[in-house]
Symmetry: C2
Subunit: 207 residues, 2 copies
């Protein structure tokens, strides 16, 4: 990584929590200057505008949070167990300063910041794509019920998690996240996981 | 209503959508002056500070939205049907400009605006209390399963609705709300409503 790239990364690392906590309008350039020890020129050498800085800071926050939420998933062969692990990561892991970047930035950006809004859409799409791909893979391998709509599973998981996140933040308690972990576990077990009878049936037919 | 109270209401009516769309920091007093045609003194005659104006504007937005979401509930005797009606109101009704005030203001206020945060907590508590009271009433009248945890039902409904709301706003589509209506209807029917067998049992025992 060149020195310029290192400085850029350092600015993002420091700016991301501020944007995530205070929002786009609430984060002044002077806040970023203070957090980095750089002057205006030193920051704008690496970013064209506050808009670009905010968008890149969002992506940085999202990458950090996503990595935590996906940690360990690749080690789990069974797709339903992999989804359960993802839900547990989300509800149990420490969050980014200021909370979930998608929740914050969606609310912050949806009334008039098109660049930032585009990044949030892309992040959500990426999250949903990962969940849909996992469900589809499970359908092919037989761990997921064949009649399941992968897109609905993804929306159900994301909606329940982010809704609980919002309640947890207002109430400053983890109960809603804990309840949602139980609720989604039960949903994945009873409505998404293929029953052993279903999986056994084709094998039985072969004999 | 006195002339002073009328003016105060008029200011809230005009300021509430601006605060709800732009957030506390993003809404300048000049925006409220422009929307009302009043000067600074004319506004601050009715509100002590921007903080008080924002808090009252939030309450105004919340009252408006709550009234829409509760419309018609009082005409429904069966408590489970009343909860289903509330969910349908939420997913089908037109929202306040800028979207759900609780969603917006929770995210806006939770990193350092204690007055506004207190209002959001109170609004959420009020919403949850209404749902809990409905479930408890249903338990007493026998329409709701006796083993149900009313607080969990309330969190499940609020979390699912607000999570779907967030997805719908990012995606600019109503599909997540539509899916959540189906999901919560099914939840209320299969997990919350007392089965006829359960309700029939005590009667059968009497004979």
């Amino acid at each position: 990584m060149s020195k310029g790239e290192q400085t850029r990364q350092f600015i993002l690392e420091r700016a991301a929590p501020i944007f995530n906590q205070r929002g786009y309008v609430g984060c002044a350039l002077s806040d970023v200057m203070e957090a980095t020890g750089l002057n205006k020129g030193g920051i704008y050498r690496h970013f064209e505008s506050k808009e670009e800085l905010a968008a890149e800071a969002f992506d940085y926050a999202w990458r950090t949070v996503s990595a935590k939420r996906r940690r360990g998933m690749e080690d789990i062969a069974n797709e339903v167990d992999r989804l359960k692990h993802h839900v547990a990561n989300f509800t149990e892991q420490t969050n980014f300063p200021g909370g979930c970047p998608v929740l914050n930035t969606a609310v912050d950006a949806d009334d008039g910041n098109p660049v930032l809004r585009q990044r949030v859409r892309a992040a959500l799409q990426n999250w949903r794509d990962m969940l849909i791909a996992t469900v589809e893979e499970g359908r092919r391998s037989g761990t997921v019920r064949p009649d399941i709509d992968a897109s609905r599973v993804a929306n159900r998981i994301i909606g329940a998690l982010e809704g609980a996140n919002l309640l947890a933040r207002i109430e400053k308690t983890r109960f809603p996240l804990h309840d949602t972990l139980i609720q989604l576990d039960s949903y994945l077990e009873t409505e998404v996981r293929a029953t052993s009878r279903r999986r056994a049936a084709p094998r039985a037919a072969k004999n």
